[in-house]
């Protein structure tokens, strides 16, 4: 089957640094892939480019076989910063995206309600963002990005600003949503445990120049329970990924 998202020979240079060098990556339909690496390895840059929010120098990006020409509704994005529009309620924020995608009144309301229920926020539908906790805001952002059915979901360290407990809850919630909903996801994180817990495949990136270093298949059973993180297989894989990333620290220090 043709990949849902395909990145071929991607190069990106900022003033002096090579942010991305010859990056090739393909995501199969309904595959959950995490990009991990030290800060500055270009993982967020890669995601922004795929989202169409950043230019690149060379290469091809195909979404469902079609060349990507800019930002669009075929790719949903969940940002690390809170991007709920503060003058709209949780429900209106989801409807905002649905209206942009061309859905009409009653349909908007129905789909928004379904997706708020999916992230368990029905009770907070009419709350404004300043009345929601950080984790709730990101749940609404996920509901919003899923609501208009993009072909690929791009997540840029979406739980990076959350405390450890909330983060863990969000990972469980995202896994549950993904396992019932099935979607192609490209997920950027610097948290290896998070990557192992969520992903089908982990792509480790390396710095200077930013490039893909190694890939790891995550052959852990699904549905994944919260307890899986203490299983020997989980810990072994986590160690392997970590040591790969740590090599970059060693290079930095020399």
């Amino acid at each position: 089957m043709a990949p849902k998202l395909e990145i071929k020979g991607l190069n990106k240079t900022f003033a002096r640094t090579v942010a991305l060098h010859e990056v090739d990556l393909a995501l199969a339909e309904n595959e959950f892939v995490s990009l991990v690496g030290v800060s500055g390895c270009g993982k967020s840059t890669l995601l922004s480019i795929v989202a169409g929010l950043l230019d690149y120098d060379e290469g091809d990006i195909l979404v469902d076989g079609a060349p990507m020409t800019g930002p669009g509704l075929d790719r949903g994005v969940v940002f690390q910063s809170y991007t709920l529009l503060p003058w709209l309620t949780a429900r209106q924020n989801v409807e905002f995206a649905l209206k942009a995608a061309g859905y009409k009144g009653a349909e908007c309301r129905k789909i928004a309600a379904e997706h708020l229920a999916l992230v368990r926020l029905t009770k907070f539908s009419d709350a404004y963002p300043h009345q929601l906790s950080g984790g709730m805001k990101q749940r609404v952002a996920i509901a919003r990005a899923l609501s208009y059915r993009p072909k690929v979901l791009l997540m840029d360290e979406p739980f990076g600003a959350l405390d450890a407990m909330t983060r863990h809850e969000m990972q469980i919630l995202l896994t549950r949503v993904w396992e019932t909903h099935k979607l192609t996801v490209l997920f950027v994180t610097h948290d290896v445990e998070e990557a192992v817990y969520l992903s089908d495949r982990i792509v480790a990136m390396s710095i200077n120049p930013g490039r893909i270093k190694t890939e790891f298949s995550v052959n852990l059973p699904r549905p994944r329970s919260a307890e899986i993180i203490s299983s020997p297989d989980f810990i072994a894989l986590q160690r392997r990924v970590l040591s790969t990333i740590r090599e970059d620290f060693a290079i930095d220090e020399n």
Binding site: L53, G76, F79
Partner: protein, 277 residues
């Protein structure tokens, strides 16, 4: 015994909090302190005039000023002056703002307009407004138009730079979100950039409205035949210090009133912008 000592330590903590960086203050305490400062100043004013320490020519007693303002009020002079000045300041400020907001949004959003207009506005804004007084009189005479023009010169160029700043503070990811939702340039402005910058723009308008008052009074002091500033000039000519000071106080009260109204409206219009101002 125990309860009273606990109450005592509570008071001590509240008192200490008033002098701690970023400390808290209750509304009653705030009102007591701010009201106390007004009362203290008033008491000093009363004392120095009642004791004859300062001559009425330099500083009349509060009572004398009150009497003068009431007689000007019954005669209709005060209300006529307020009406003329309020009309001028609102009209001038409206013209300046109606031009500055769209232009500021353009400069804040589009690099072309920033390059074209931002350095120019920066340059003009450093020219002293008072230096334009003779020119504006030469160009437009001493009527209302000249007052509008002075208010416009004094506020417009500051406003566009402040609105530009308000727009630049829109989080980049809000704009990124709009783009990933496929919004057109126009919709991105109307549905994300402007609503997001609006509380800040409102704040800019509130602050610059105070400046508009200042420039109006300056213009009226120099050349006018009506208005609050005009009355101040005339009173000074006849050494009617009570009128001069009374009118200055009226200007202060008018400024405070508009500021409070705009702040109250801000809470109604942008209830979500909590903890911003």
């Amino acid at each position: 015994m125990r309860a009273s000592s606990m109450r005592q330590s509570k008071y001590r903590a509240a008192w200490r909090s008033l002098f701690t960086t970023g400390g808290a203050i209750g509304r009653p305490a705030f009102l007591t302190i701010s009201g106390g400062v007004f009362a203290a100043l008033f008491a000093i004013w009363y004392a120095v005039t009642a004791s004859g320490l300062v001559q009425p020519l330099f500083l009349p007693a509060p009572g004398a000023i009150w009497l003068r303002l009431s007689s000007l009020s019954t005669a209709g002079t005060l209300w006529g002056d307020i009406e003329v000045s309020v009309y001028r300041v609102f009209a001038g400020f409206f013209i300046a703002s109606a031009m500055a907001v769209p232009i500021g949004v353009m400069i804040g959003s589009y690099r072309f307009w920033e390059a074209a207009l931002e350095p120019l506005a920066d340059f003009i804004r450093y020219m002293p407004v008072v230096a334009f007084l003779p020119l504006t009189i030469l160009w437009t005479g001493t009527g209302d138009i000249q007052k509008f023009l002075i208010i416009w010169i004094g506020t417009f160029f500051q406003q566009i730079l402040m609105v530009m700043d308000n727009v630049k503070r829109v989080p980049p990811d809000f704009i990124g979100l709009g783009r990933t939702l496929g919004l057109s340039e126009f919709k991105l402005q109307m549905k994300i950039v402007i609503p997001s910058a609006l509380p800040g723009i409102w704040d800019t308008l509130r602050i610059t409205f105070g400046w508009a008052w200042t420039w109006l009074v300056v213009a009226e002091l120099v050349a006018a035949n009506s208005g609050l500033g005009y009355r101040i000039t005339v009173s000074q000519r006849y050494f009617e210090t009570d009128t001069t000071i009374g009118y200055i106080l009226v200007l202060g009260v008018l400024g405070l009133l508009t500021d409070q109204v705009m702040k109250a409206l801000e809470r109604v219009l942008f209830p979500y912008a909590k903890g911003r101002s």
